[in-house]
Amino acid sequence: MIAATLNEYVILSVVLFAIGFFGVLLRRNTLVIFMCLELMLIASTLALVAFSRFNRTQDGNTFVFFILTVAAAEVAVGLALIVALFRSRRTVQVDELNALKH
């Protein structure tokens, strides 16, 4: 098995981050947007772990636990909001959520 280099890990995480970022900007379904947001967090996690492994420093590994916790809290609040909004509006499409206009 060929061990991956640091550059490969970083490039992979940048690609994941870019997929997530453009997904948030371009997709119209709130749930898919949510998945893209998680993808962006995962990209940062991957980068942190890779840097931590190759630089032989510990902070990055520790940080990952905090990120996972924060991401879980974010999803809990986010899904609650989506469910509540779906009950009153019967849609999760961003285009149709436009009651707030001047």
Binding site: L37, L81, L85
Partner: protein, 503 residues
């Protein structure tokens, strides 16, 4: 890692240094506990318990300001306690107190649970107080996320209103996006600063001091620059600086009025403190930092002023004019790169902004009807005749926000502009003056609506103002105090003014 080294690490955990935050957290838990224990008819007193608790913590904080306060690091470099941090603790406690008072007015008009609102408010306040004292990226991120996740809930708090929920969802998506961008920037900075091949590399790259030391050795490293830009972009979302201000109008309109005030004042204040801390950390990369912040400040002032001109909804107007204020504060941050007095000017501006904003939002909470998102300029027609007290408070608050002498807002703008002038930022100053002139126009159209427009709609189809309930004693007292303090701070700067002296 053996037991003795863990003990040595734990010895640095100075719990008394974060006593106010601990008290706030306990108070929040006590509220939830009381809600379980107390019979249902006593629940209406719980907000009072929360407000009295914050009121009790506030003077203890002012005392610890002068007596027995630790200056320096604690928790192994996670936190750094400074005089600025102490001042901002007072700022956030005041914001929480005023938001709570507005909450008693606004929540009474809705059918929602009351206790949880205060619980989340207190937790978010404690997190903000930790945030502005953080000295480490893990601390910064966790505190920032505690603040934003709490605010997602608060923005969507009126869950029977589709407007509030929609605002909550929009804030959640854009807030999470900005957090992810910030996090990726942190990851890049951490990776670069820990690289053993580079000079000045460090094992503790998350620590701000270690990072600044590393950046001083490699100010032009490409990946580090990308990291800095990403981190700044993440913070710019929080302070609503151009081009990351797109969420502001919708979220401000949909959020409950007290939460809008909290977002406008406390969240923005926290964002600016983080920006100041980060600007100090990234100071070795001034070649990148100065132009980015300068462009952002100019664009923010212009965008906020021009976008606010066309608004009819007062919450959107406050949001977009808040973008302009963020631009003025950014001008201060740019000037702080060379002028020490700009930091003091930023703090003064924040306090003047707090007083004036809560005065205006307090009046808005009184005037708002059952639909909290529907607050039009036309609802203010004839306010001076029906409620002269509210109209007077509104006029003082708006005048201070617009920067009319001799109110506090004028002094705040003056100090920032003097600092910018000393720093030689003439181009930005010209933009800022244009912003001030435009802001006087749209703030005065609101004052004109309250004082000079007649309350009778010219045609039948104009939406009439919702019925005005009488102003409660506590809300009236707080509004009066805010207006009085706004006038007083314009004439006499006193203790706050001492902060302006360069140290």
């Amino acid at each position: 890692m053996d037991l003795s080294s863990l003990q040595a690490l734990a010895a640095n955990n100075d719990w008394t240094a974060i006593f106010p935050e601990l008290l706030l957290g306990c108070l929040a838990l006590v509220l939830l506990g009381l809600e379980i224990v107390l019979p249902r008819d006593l629940h209406r007193h719980l907000p009072v318990v929360a407000l009295l608790g914050v009121l009790a913590i506030l003077p203890s904080q002012i005392i610890s300001f002068t007596v027995g306060f630790v200056e320096g690091e604690s928790f192994n470099g996670l936190l750094y306690h400074s005089r600025e941090g102490q001042l901002m603790r007072v700022f956030f406690l005041l914001s929480a107190l005023l938001t709570g008072v507005l909450g008693t007015v606004s929540l009474a008009k809705q059918k929602v649970a009351h206790t949880e609102f205060y619980h989340i408010l207190l937790v978010v306040t404690a997190a903000m107080m930790l945030l502005v004292q953080s000295n480490h990226f893990v601390m910064l991120f966790v505190a920032l996320e505690t603040v934003t996740i709490g605010l997602y809930v608060l923005v969507g708090y009126f869950r029977t209103s589709p407007y509030s929920l929609e605002a909550g969802l929009k804030y959640l998506i854009l807030g999470a996006l900005s957090s992810a961008i910030l996090l990726f920037g942190i990851a890049l900075l951490y990776g670069v600063a820990g690289n053993p091949a580079l000079p000045g590399h460090t094992g503790a790259a998350m620590n701000f001091d270690a990072l600044r030391n590393f950046l001083a050795h490699n100010p032009h490293h490409f990946l580090a620059s990308v990291g800095i830009v990403l981190v700044l972009a993440g913070v710019a979302f929080k302070i609503a600086a151009f081009p990351f201000q797109i969420w502001v109008p919708d979220v401000y309109q949909g959020a409950p009025t007290p939460v809008t005030a909290f977002l406008a004042v406390a969240s923005k204040g926290a964002g600016f403190l983080v920006l100041l801390i980060l600007a100090r950390t990234f100071a070795p990369c001034a070649w990148l930092l100065a132009p980015v912040l300068t462009l952002m400040a100019g664009a923010t002032i212009l965008f906020g002023s021009l976008a606010a001109l066309t608004q009819h909804n007062v919450k959107r107007l406050m949001g977009l004019s808040g973008v302009t204020h963020a631009g003025f504060l950014l001008l201060g941050v740019v000037a702080a790169g060379t002028q020490a007095m700009a930091v003091g000017a930023i703090y003064f501006y924040l306090f003047a902004y707090l007083l004036a904003s809560f005065a205006v939002f307090g009046v808005m909470a009184q005037v708002a009807g059952a639909n909290d998102a529907d607050q039009e300029l036309s609802h203010y027609a004839g306010l001076a005749k029906d409620r002269p007290f509210l109209a007077l408070v509104l006029a003082i608050g708006l005048g201070s926000l617009a920067g009319i002498p001799p109110l506090a807002g004028f002094m705040g703008k003056l100090f920032i502009f003097i600092a910018a002038f000393k720093a030689g930022l003439y181009g930005l100053l010209a933009v800022a003056v244009v912003g001030v002139v435009i802001s006087i126009y749209y703030y005065f159209s609101w004052i004109r609506a309250a004082f000079f427009a007649s309350g009778i709609p010219p045609e039948g189809d104009t939406p009439a103002r919702p019925a005005l309930p009488p102003v409660g004693f506590m809300a009236g007292l707080v509004l009066g105090l805010l207006a009085f303090a706004t006038v007083l701070l314009g004439f006499y700067q006193g203790v706050l003014g001492q902060w302006l002296a360069p140290r």
